[in-house]
Symmetry: D2
């Protein structure tokens, strides 16, 4: 069994919960789950046992209630009535957003709150934690030595507090995996990589790779392989879900810009001028974001071609599907005791694959490496 | 040295000739040449020594004259004055097109004409032949035993006549490579594969992979790797060069349709309904074709996404750049005496890679195999 | 009251029937009905009293049954149970299509069948007939004198037979309007215009203007007004409904090509090379057709701009909304006794506005003329 | 004759100067000049006699030199050697931009500098001034009474100083027209409208309507006329010319946002959520900006359609072509002594047509009003 704890019962987490239960009930095929039924662990092995949030309108209610409100589909699986959303750690992750939010640490000190969490997790025997809370501005800790001090001073963000607590949980209770699907640098923070190695835990991250970013990576690979000279890349991203609302705040937007635009020089081998950042919020677009992109390049004989992409992408389901793999791969890494972070997994599933220092690669290349690591054969060959 | 003979001094051949000379004079960078300077043979090792056509307005004039007329750029390299366009074999390849065309075989029998060609080629010591004549309707010969008889009866098309003659040339004069960059099934014809093995020659083919087809292949790979269910693919292709005019005739259009739509089932693993064929001719678009494409797919939880591609692609330069590799790879195959056809080369450079029976693969996958075969290391890894 | 008879209970007619009843029940707002509540006749004044088809799978069943099967929405208005689909006149309108079809005239002579229809219509006191049957190849009759003879010899198509019968109905029973929303030339046929004048009937036509055609007309107006020189226009149209399947047959496709590409020279004042015709059928696209278009033009100083349009348009609802106006405008024309055809109505609602000899105009221009004719003031001014 | 003075010898002004001279030499057709040869004044009647800038790299050099450097075409008309670029009024219009700029008023007081300008203009007998300087943050003066005081205190921006000086010129020397083609509110400033009425001058403005804005206005009109309910509009605009660089600064970007997004509610009759602002700067795109737009709307029966626009628009030539009309229309207004501003001209040529209080209309509608005002008949009708 793989017992899963959700951090941030937002639209991605709700698509994950509803989609997973429907998969387990055989109500839907496994579209959007890359390693489908090729992994030793099946969908029925996964059980969501906990969900944490800081949004007062969610705490105390069941994932079923939230799905009823937010899930854009019907026949919500009844099993989601068993998961009551508990109060997480706030640390001001929701600053500047029109949401009433409150964390445990606001009526006791942070460490006290974290220990409380660990106890709850212990009773629920959580194997894999999924961090899909709101994007927040985070700087890496850097040296492991500073981590304890920073936590003691309460000078950490919510993502870092959760990552830290899960590490303690690994040490005190059982090895577990922390899937950091948001831009906060955890698998790109040397401090946390070393911390997870010592605590015998696994961390995947950072920032789930869905939508325009992986598509841009593979289009640039297509250009590289034909030795086409890319002159410029401009990418516009606009949606109407709460995540896009959050990303409208400059300090949060910059986090996405960092994780999204690193790929150009790594894949092309030269820095092509580019404009890549989440661009705007437009409520009626909802979760189906509008992506528009231009790539201009020089072909043989210096003739200029133009490639335009227009896409409508259901934003949250795209990440939810990847989480069904990341949960199972987290458990596999735990079984193999490959503690710390795993580049081969991060490279395919994350926008900014940890550990730091690795060049971004095309998702094609990452896919071949992923299959190798997971011991899976592509049935087409 | 690699001595090259061109069959069909059309827009692709003219972009190839002008671009190659400019490369050798260091006037332009090698954009659009995939294996750039990674191969043992350099651009200066390539010399175009012959060009054949059946268009009366081209025969007897130099490639320089034709480039002056058709090449959409200036400072045409003077060296192209040395190549006089000679009369090739017609066999009605230009039927239905508004061009006055006449082949050698029209005032002597076919075999006599072919022997004449072989003598010319012998004196010019041609190593690699590039077939970029007008798309013509061709059915494979099938059994090698029928090839001689069909040639004797004159019951072959121009592409087949050239492929046959180059085979005789390999036997009588020296091993050579036949690069079939047009849809005629040569490297997909068991008869010719066996013929080239016996005559100690190399054949690459069929139909150079440029524009929308390789892009579609890699986009479908992107879908496959995320287990997205592709619902439909529609691709429109419209241009204004003479090739698009030729492809406006149904019997020629069908040839492109065959080479273009084979990739869907091979790459996805299931047959997604698709509408892929060159669609129309619109003169003012010229060589910069307009491609519009839609791919609809189901994501996690059965939510439907839509991907639209709009592209303007300089058609002829795209193939010309690939020919700079195919000429050098042909020579490398000859040096290694790997006679017959070479799947690893065809898989990346051709829309319908011979030999028959191989499933189409993504161009990304073919690229890794190509580098292996060519003994080239991707400098990024 | 306006009593309406439908000819061809296809997807357009079903969207019209369901949408109209929902409007009358105030279940939906009147989006897609251009003259909304500005006309003297309200939605509640319209009553569908008859529906004719030749498809065996539809005859004898109610419009409710057909809507249940074909309408892509739910809560089908119960009132549609009152309309039983009756057998119309076939005259081979379904030749080449995978549908079992049979007309009244196949077991009695044509004139006998037509008189039967007129009797039925008399009992139902139909005011307005809507022709939305399958596109069929039709040549205009030309001289009124030949009409009677052609009908007597059975040498007319189904559209012409219906148009003829409604004319007789006008003479014998009461004035009525014939809304020809398909490409068959009726309002563009001098014979029928004169026939309707003499029989004191009204005919609107031909071919409802929805989707890419009116958009292209107004984009060309936008170019004309800025004196931009349009170099080329290419438009691709692909859908998956039965109409697109029918339009896949060349003889039917040509009908749409005629009605769709007349606008370029009329609006620009010069003939810009263009490629405009329904292009293909791709089943999974369903009724939401995919339109892709390019317009290239020269701006000030001869600099070239490019405009690309990509659209997903629900095909059948678009025409259904116009029919809600055309029914009311038909009645208004009858009230005013303006018999024959009415250019001011055709110019806005039809791709090929009758009578022949009128240049196509931008739909903006036609809209101002329509408001004037209908005596309606644009509330914005 | 119409003697013209340019304020801001940037890319728009250079396209205007080169294009106009080429028109007068019959070297190019008049594409991009809306009222072409329909006006009483011909191209040969227009003479550019002065050009003002504050960019040190331009002052003292001829328009020919600047065109040689910046105009993306060749054979620059020799006549441009006669116009030496003079130093204008800076008033910090270039703050925050990487350009060394200095105005006359920086070494004498503002009023002294303005009087100097008026003397120069008097000697050159300028009839029409064109303001195409860099977009600058400007708030309207409001009451005419404050204008004198604000100028005396030097508390005006460059656009306002120029507009003020031209008013004095009208009073002291001769009536003249001030064409304000940039976002600064002049024809939208009650103070300046009254000022120009009193000084017997003409002012057109504000912000030349080219590119995506007029296209959006006419597309929204297309939606309105079919009673389609627009759900959302998102428009991205990215280019690489200095104007886009300037618009990258928030305080300048906001000016464009105001002039660009006013049209939605005026044309649709309801406020549709929209995201319309110049979005970014990407150098290699140069003057050919990339525009991507989405418009979603509900059709009949509440079915949702999607319209996507992708465009490449040569930015500066588009405005330059309009200026050839605005100069002639300015002279016509002067001849008619219709002082103050002229809504019928502003409505077609400007993004934010003055005077304030007028609702934006579709450019189609504005076109019909313009022809009426100019006494021109559309040759098509
Ligand atoms: N395709 C995708 O949607 C995608 C891809 C990559 C990354 N992400 C990231 O995943 C995250 C979730 O996206 P979403 O669309 O579900 O956003 P969302 O706004 O719908 O959900 C975020 C949830 O996190 C909760 N939250 C905020 N602070 C918290 C805290 N301190 N502790 C616990 N919960 C907290 C919020 O209350 C909310 O319920 C975002 O950071 C987003 O950037 C999404
Ligand atoms: N990107 C690309 O342009 C591309 C990609 C794949 C394949 N191709 C194929 O390459 C070929 C050339 O394309 P193009 O744009 O240069 O076409 P083109 O029409 O410009 O040139 C074809 C030339 O072949 C000549 N020709 C015809 N029959 C001949 C014969 N029997 N012998 C000798 N010459 C003959 C014609 O006279 C003409 O000069 C076409 O078959 C095309 O389908 C092109
Ligand atoms: N936006 C639009 O969908 C649009 C726009 C303009 C014109 N049209 C035209 O409207 C017509 C209907 O479109 P649709 O999508 O509903 O097509 P459809 O195929 O769904 O319906 C056509 C119906 O006509 C019936 N029919 C065929 N021959 C008949 C006959 N002789 N008598 C009576 N019924 C007959 C068929 O059985 C079918 O039920 C087509 O001709 C189409 O070209 C549609
Ligand atoms: N289609 C279009 O390009 C378009 C449309 C509408 C409005 N506009 C506006 O037209 C203006 C010019 O556009 P551009 O592309 O030529 O910009 P540009 O940056 O190329 O030119 C602006 C010129 O104004 C000069 N300038 C700045 N401050 C000045 C001052 N105080 N006095 C005199 N000159 C001064 C600059 O030095 C520069 O030479 C901009 O405000 C732009 O927003 C352009
Ligand atoms: Mg998201
Ligand atoms: Mg070609
Ligand atoms: Mg239809
Ligand atoms: Mg500009």
């Amino acid at each position: 069994m793989i017992r899963v704890g959700i951090i941030g019962q937002g639209l991605v987490a709700t698509h994950f919960a509803v989609g997973l239960e429907k998969l387990k009930n055989n109500e839907i095929p496994d579209h959007g789950v890359p390693l489908r039924n090729w992994l030793p662990y099946k969908y029925t092995d996964i059980e969501i046992v906990a969900s944490y949030d800081v949004d007062e309108s969610k705490i105390g209610r069941t994932v079923f209630d939230i799905a009823l409100r937010d899930y854009p589909g019907n026949n919500i699986p009844g099993s989601l009535r068993d998961i009551v959303i508990r109060r997480g750690i706030h640390l001001n992750s929701m600053k500047g957003l029109p949401i009433k939010a409150r964390g445990r640490e606001e009526d006791k000190d942070l460490q006290q709150a974290l220990l409380e969490l660990i106890d709850e997790w212990k009773s629920m025997k959580i194997d894999v934690f999924i961090n899909v809370m709101t994007t927040e501005p985070v700087e890496p800790i850097g040296r492991l030595g500073n981590l304890e001090k920073r936590v003691a001073e309460g000078d950490v963000t919510a993502s870092q507090a959760y990552a830290y607590a899960v590490g303690l949980y690994c040490e005190k209770v059982r090895s577990a995996a922390f899937v950091n699907a948001i831009p906060s640098p955890i698998a790109n923070d040397p401090a946390f990589i070393e911390y997870y190695r010592q605590k015998k835990g696994v961390v995947f991250g950072d920032d789930g790779s869905t939508g325009a970013t992986p598509l841009t990576a593979d289009l640039l690979e297509h250009m590289y392989e034909r030795n086409r000279r890319v002159l410029d890349i401009a990418q516009f991203n606009i949606g109407g879900n709460t995540d896009f609302l959050a990303l409208n705040l400059p300090e949060r937007n910059i986090m996405k810009k960092k994780t999204k635009s690193g790929i150009v020089e790594d894949i092309l081998g030269y820095e092509a001028p580019n404009y890549i950042r989440p661009t705007g919020y437009l409520e009626p677009l909802g979760d189906k974001k509008f992506v528009a992109m231009i790539i201009e390049y020089l072909s043989f004989g210096e003739f200029k071609d133009e490639l335009y992409i227009v896409a409508r992408i259901n934003d949250s389901p795209a990440l939810a599907g990847l989480l069904v793999d990341l949960v199972r791969l987290g458990k596999i890494a735990l079984d193999r005791e490959t503690y710390g972070t795993v580049y081969e997994v991060n490279a395919f599933y994350m926008k900014k694959p940890g550990p730091p220092g690795f060049k971004a690669v095309s998702k094609y290349y990452a896919y071949t490496k992923l299959l190798e690591w997971a011991g899976v054969k592509d049935p087409r060959f």
